[in-house]
């Protein structure tokens, strides 16, 4: 998959997920590096602890190349029905989810190739994936 297609698809799926919560504000930013990138998404919808742990669980699934290369191709394309953070979870190297003072949530995702080191990014507290 071309890299820019992956950017678009990841951002689409993430935006799809956040928009399902009907936020009044949503910001998605991307930071590129030669062998990886960081996406940060912010919204203003308050979430319960349970919702936060569900987001974290979906995104922190094991890396599954056999699912990512096949079913993962649906990411950002097929938006009928509920958004699927799991499709993102198969592809990412690091994730951090935190509440923001405005009441919403900030989702940080790090994606990269095998030699990619998420710690090189400015947001460097990356929990290990399971």
């Amino acid at each position: 998959m071309k890299r820019h297609e992956l950017y678009v698809q990841l951002i689409s799926e993430l935006a799809n997920y956040l928009l399902h919560g009907n936020p009044k504000k949503m910001v998605i930013s991307m930071h590129l590096e030669p062998d990886g990138f960081h996406i940060a998404a912010i919204d203003d919808r308050p979430r319960t602890e349970k919702e936060l742990s569900e987001i974290e669980h979906s995104l922190m699934l094991h890396q599954r190349p056999e699912l990512a290369s096949y079913y993962g191709t649906m990411i950002g394309h097929d938006l009928l029905g509920s958004a699927r953070l799991e499709l993102i979870g198969f592809q990412i190297k690091g994730v951090k989810i935190e509440r923001i003072p405005e009441g919403g949530v900030m989702i940080n995702l790090w994606i990269g190739n095998e030699g990619f080191d998420p710690a090189m990014f400015s947001i460097n507290e990356v929990p290990g994936k399971g």
Binding site: L61, H62, R64, P65, E66, Y70, T73, M74, D78
Partner: protein
């Protein structure tokens, strides 16, 4: 390796060894191996019940061999056993009762792996496509043993064409996935049906006769009837093995996880082992296997090779998308269509549709039982026709029909929702 995965590995190894030993004992060693070898050269297009061709013993050896091949393929690709892998393994083993052999699976596995290397990926990236892709096995047997070519050309020719088919499967499978958006669990059935349509048409254009095959066992075999309860029992034992010191707590937790599974839509890729837990998935698979097995007994259906294949697929996909809540309405849709159109419920197509229609479970899971019912109804209407299109070359004919049905329904829902909201 995590605890749950370890249990699942033991489960599959026990299952494969059980089939091998059972087959060898029942088939009395030499005759069992002879029958197994005979299956490798037997036409395998739909519907060829191997238990009716060579008997139960050699068929069980074939199931063990195909299961071992799938398991070895996963190990070579360094993939852990999880929901998707279990679905693929059970599908391979189930269809080894009526169509898949080691001979006709190997070229597809090789072809899909070569396809991955061609686009600079690792073969493991397309391992699931390869395993499910063995649905095209009958095409290889057709070229090798049905076309009437001289064996010196037929055998390498079938291997090369099978490898070639394997190489084109990944792009087709990925494109088909986008048609139904993950609402048909048997996506490779749709993909293989698409390829089978072209290959059958090419064969007929070249002058080949693709005659319909129907080998359908009807004599009751106690061992075949006992297979699904035995597998369910092994799954429950695996549950206990995860925490033998506290069986009550284990089952309580397993029921909690099972309840969580039944709240999921089942849309691809819903890996219950990963998303929930291996114990919840094992319990779901045991319950689903027993439910559908009991249904077949209530209907007095013959528990033959194809019916067992259907039951295996139900059990396998109960780790990857199916659960009692999302299959019932689809199945009722099929039964309603059978009754309304006055079809014989004991003939292969309607009976197998009752089992395989559960490919459409995600539609009921996401959009509710009414949509599920309509999907089941439409599925039955189309499934007999699609089998003729590819001449029985695609073993997952119900997956083909389910893919077309899901595409139709998804298109309508998508249009209605987006047009109304615009």
């Amino acid at each position: 390796m995590v605890q749950g995965t370890k249990t699942l590995n033991v489960f599959i190894v026990v299952l494969v060894l059980g089939f091998f030993v059972g087959g060898m004992v029942l088939g009395q060693l030499g005759p069992a191996l002879n029958g197994f070898m005979r299956l490798q050269v037997t036409p395998a297009r739909l519907v060829t019940d191997f238990t009716a061709v060579v008997g139960v013993g050699p068929t069980l050896v074939n199931v063990a061999a195909v299961g071992a091949l799938g398991y070895l393929f996963l190990k070579i690709n360094k993939l852990e056993l999880r929901g998707a892998e279990l679905a693929a393994l059970f599908t391979m083993m189930g269809f080894a009762f009526f169509g898949k052999t080691v001979f006709n699976c190997v070229p597809i596995l090789l072809g899909v792996s070569l396809s991955a290397l061609l686009v600079r990926r690792k073969p493991r990236d397309y391992a699931l496509i390869a395993m499910f892709g063995t649905a095209m096995g009958p095409l290889i047997t057709f070229i090798a043993f049905e076309l009437g070519m001289r064996q010196i050309f037929a055998l390498p020719g079938s291997f090369l064409i099978g490898t070639g088919i394997g190489m084109v499967l990944p792009p087709i499978a990925i494109a088909m996935l986008r048609l139904h958006q993950g609402y048909n669990l048997y996506n490779i059935g749709l993909s293989a049906g698409f390829v089978g349509l072209f290959t059958a048409s090419l064969s007929e254009a070249a002058g080949a006769d693709i005659l319909p095959l129907t080998m359908w066992g009807t004599s009751p075999e106690p061992l075949l009837i006992a297979i699904i309860p035995a597998i369910s029992l092994i799954m429950l034992c695996c549950l206990v093995a995860e925490n033998p010191k506290s069986i009550g707590t284990t089952f309580k937790e397993a029921f909690g996880d099972f309840a969580r599974i039944t709240k999921m839509t089942g849309r691809l890729p819903s890996d219950f082992v990963d998303y929930v837990s291996s114990r919840g998935a094992l319990l779901n698979a045991a319950v689903m296997g027993l439910l559908f097995w009991a249904l077949m007994l209530i209907l007095r259906a013959p528990i033959n090779g194809p019916v067992l294949g259907g039951l295996f697929t139900v059990v396998g996909f109960s780790f990857f998308g199916k659960h009692p809540r999302n299959v019932v309405s689809v199945m009722l849709g099929v039964v309603a269509a059978i009754l309304i159109f006055g079809l014989d419920i004991y003939s292969p197509a309607p009976l197998l549709a009752i089992l395989f229609c559960t490919a459409l479970a995600p539609l009921a899971g996401e959009f509710g039982p009414v949509v599920g019912f309509i999907a089941g109804f439409l599925h039955l209407v189309i499934v007999d026709r699609t089998g003729n299109w590819h001449g029985g070359m695609d073993l997952y004919n119900n997956g083909f029909a389910a893919g077309l049905t899901a595409t139709l329904i998804v298109s309508i829902i998508e249009w209605y929702r987006s047009a109304r909201e615009a």
